[in-house]
Assembly symmetry: C2
């Protein structure tokens, strides 16, 4: 394998492959093939092989991929092998759902801190996590937290992002329907639920 820049789309697909591999592993599988994995997750086998090829040899020709080593390799590439602590800001309807959401564990994430501006919520616990004052967002990196999740209203989202960056957060998952501007070296991924829904009627009409 020769070195080439990792395509953006390949990075987007790696978590999908990881999820598929974890699924097969949980079902008791020991190994898989690009065909089996492809059928499971709904892509083409060559896409998987091509994507893996950017990172070196993953499998054995004529045999396939060991699920254990596959999961290990992808986890390492995505830096999911160490586990990550996240801070949630905004414990409203969506924030509460995220606190209770079990799916983060699959990838080794844990929400260990929650913040809200509403005085009545401060000091209470949701899903075992103490709700703290947003104004005392403080030094998250000192608490081992490098990821932030923004679930506050649109108008407050940029201020919260600024505070998170100041507190040492390097990666942000934002649910606010608005562009978040951050310094170089900080990555923001935005999930705009309504905007994703807004694409549906176009496809439905097109058939």
């Amino acid at each position: 394998m020769r070195y080439r820049k990792i395509p953006e789309e390949t990075v987007r697909r790696l978590p999908v492959y990881l999820q598929g591999a974890l699924h097969l592993s949980r079902r008791g599988g020991e190994s898989t093939s690009s065909k089996e994995l492809a059928d499971l997750i709904g892509v083409e086998p060559w896409q998987i092989r091509k994507d893996f090829s950017y990172f070196g040899d993953f499998g054995t020709r004529g045999v396939g991929y060991s699920l254990g080593s596959l999961i290990g390799r992808i986890n390492k590439i995505l830096r999911l092998d160490t586990g990550h602590k996240a801070a949630l800001v905004g414990v409203g309807n969506l924030g509460s759902a995220l606190l209770a959401f079990p799916g983060f564990r699959v990838y080794g994430f844990e929400i260990v801190a929650a913040f809200d501006i509403d005085k009545r919520k401060i000091g209470r616990r949701k899903a075992g996590v103490l709700i703290e004052e947003t104004t005392s967002l403080g030094r998250l990196s000192a608490r081992g937290i490098h990821l932030g999740i923004i679930a506050v209203p649109e108008t407050a989202s940029q201020d919260i992002a600024d505070a998170l960056v100041k507190a040492g957060v390097r990666g942000i998952l934002s649910f606010a329907p608005r562009r978040i501007v951050v310094p170089r070296g900080v990555k923001v991924i935005t999930i705009d639920i309504a905007m994703d829904l807004a694409r549906l009627p176009y496809y439905v009409a097109a058939g």
Copy 2:
């Protein structure tokens, strides 16, 4: 403008342009330029002009775009000009948050029906919407509902998708972390929150 196939990526950006145009309009603007809109939403001006060019002339050379006609054009292309009714299945933590979520209105969506399997929730109302039995999902298309939102546990998601399709739904927004298989003519958009978060550490480490 000559006809060409609309690029997938262009369709993905149209809601972003629409949101930006709506934002400027709400702020009292009458018109805009590709530069202003681009700066607002964080893309390049030529990308906007190129995307619009697939659908014909949107603006006036030397002047810019009228916000009113721009919003009208994009709404029409995305089929958002008529408004859409959606059914929610799964009124757990996430489903409840979605019922209370005000952001859908921006694009003319309304959740008018909610379903759950939990007998204790049936008959109650959440955010003004009556919770009905999942088993009686019935004929949604007869109620003018052509979109479904899936917020049930992963294991039930495919069955719910099948039921929604049977009930006449043509577009599905799914929050289940799993591939949903549907017949031709039905479109599924999946939001896998944990999977999106799973990409973050990769970028954070890469800088």
